[in-house]
Subunit: 177 residues, 2 copies
């Protein structure tokens, strides 16, 4: 496996355990609160990550490997989880995400990608030509983006209670990033 | 235990497992890289959290309970970990943080705080009078701030590789927050 892919997979493999450690068995006060209008709660984030496993990362990589730029990726619905997660518990979503991530990494391993494969290209519906390397790099950055967002949403719940000391905390300085 | 304290402890208890899941067994490429001058790497963050357990949260709470505002807190050195962590491994720091956090939560439980205790006050060296409730709220917000920061430092390592798709990721829009 190319070194960069090893590096990416090491983090992708950890994400379900990270989110489970952070979120499992917490009250809805922590898991279902967001940080402003149109922002994601931790519950929303895990649903969004599940949807990504189902429709984004491995499906798009498969299109690159099988069709190249000839078949554009399906657009990804960043809000699909509002419907998909409805009526489910945080624990159910965490378990499903862990299961689907394992399946995704098994599929990735099955492709046995080499350096030449990472240079193969696909057609993003909004961004144009992207390489498999860019797609896989975006996958790991996307995981980290949403771990970052979960911590932000949670910290936001204590933005007032933690004053004045919280003045030192970068996470509370900009609620929209 | 007051409801708010239960809420705080639930997250404080999870932080070592969260950081261990996220960071253990990763290469130094992930753990020892920061996101710009004067920013913390994940390795720096865990050292900083250890130092907080040793000198900040429970020591300051103890001063509040024993001395009130009569004895100001010791100033906290936010950069002490550069020396304390030198020559140690990420795994060693994660283990030490987990052990010290358990000790801190045992001490907190031993105080058996009630609502009246949460209103007790101490003297912050820079911010003036703060309550035990504010100190404990800042503790949990501080944990979340640094989980947020670890994810940011890691995402930053893929800021270029993940383009153009990373344009959608909030974590990569402002490296300084």
């Amino acid at each position: 496996m190319p070194a960069q892919l090893t590096d990416i997979v090491a983090v992708l493999r950890n994400t379900p355990a990270t989110l489970t450690a952070l979120l499992r068995d917490l009250s809805p006060h922590w898991t279902h609160a967001n940080y402003g209008p149109d922002t994601f709660s931790p519950f929303d984030v895990v649903g969004h990550l599940i949807h990504g496993e189902m429709t984004d990362w491995i499906p798009r990589l498969t299109i690159i490997l099988e069709h190249g730029v000839a078949r554009p990726f399906e657009p990804f619905d960043r809000y699909a989880m509002y419907q998909l997660s409805e009526g489910r518990t945080m624990a159910e979503l965490l378990d499903e995400f862990a299961r689907r991530r394992t399946e995704s990494l098994n599929a990735l391993e099955g492709f046995d990608l080499g350096e030449a494969d990472l240079a193969k290209t696909g057609m993003h519906p909004a961004l144009g030509v992207v390489t498999a390397r860019q797609l896989l790099s975006a996958w790991v950055a996307h995981d980290l983006n949403h771990i970052h967002q979960v911590a932000k949403a949670m910290a936001y719940q204590y933005r007032e209670a933690a004053q004045p000391i919280a003045a030192y905390l970068g996470v509370l300085k900009d609620f929209r990033s």
